[in-house]
Amino acid sequence: GRERLLTAFEQVNTSFAMLFKHLFGGGEANLVMVESDDPLDAGLEIMCQPPGKKLSTLSLLSGGEQTLTAMALIFAVFLSNPAPICVLDEVDAPLDDANVTRFCDLLDEMCRQTDTRFLIITHHAVTMARMDRLFGVTMQEQGVSQLVSVDLKKAEALVA
């Protein structure tokens, strides 16, 4: 019970700190147990310091910075026990182009480290360009969805 949670915490914390540095190109981050000495009852606070900025809780960061930090946590949990399938639904929405590129670099890295198959739902042109293949969902007939295979040029027209 407690032992397993503490072990998981240590493992995830280490991965999280490393993934954060990787995604931000520097800086520091850590998970902290708060509000209780009992790990089964404690809360999870996230302390982070993007490069060149002051250490603060997650809440003081910008929208895009919070998203990148949360991604580092989600992937840290993922790496501790990789699932055979991973689906990410528009997680890149708050990111600027530079950070979307880092997100895609991270996905490539996950593909190298695991056998996981990824489904990435996105509106971002940069993300689309980094995929191995693309499927387009259309509603030619109102209210009725259809799936089509698309090449990158067609996808940009689909999303526009």
């Binding site: 509000e35 501790s80 996981t116 198959r117 293949r133 509603m139 007939e141 999303v159």
Partner: protein, 168 residues
Amino acid sequence: MRFSKLRLTGFKSFVDPTDLIIADGLTGVVGPNGCGKSNLLEALRWVMGENRPKAMRGGGMEDVIFAGAASRPARNFAEVSLHLDNTDRLAPSGFNEADNIDIIRRITRDVGSAYKANGKDVRARDVQMLFADASTGAHSPALVRQGQIAELINAKPKARRRILEEAA
């Protein structure tokens, strides 16, 4: 055990039988707002045994049945099947005998859900256990819903801790 195909029939806006082939690496899914992309993820979680309507954005489990469109009447059942390639024989025991594992879930109006695994009737629990043993399932932290990252960011510390419990 690899996820290789998802087939939807009458599930939300996918009224006609639709196959999503899942290959290695990164597969992108694109399209305009409201065209059905998130419905695909919900279909995957649903066939793996999702049993909370709120997690499917609905009020009740029957909300996943195609409700009709401008030129189509409502359906009275929805079905999703998930095709798993098990040639590596890494599936959890009880399902590890075959090269392929086909999980089918069907919900019929006023009747409820029924599950099959390779043609044999099974309970929701068996399906949930299969995927849990394979480090996945409807509540896998690797299945990130639209807006879920924002929820994680805004969650109180105690609610956030639950993501760790998935890892433990």
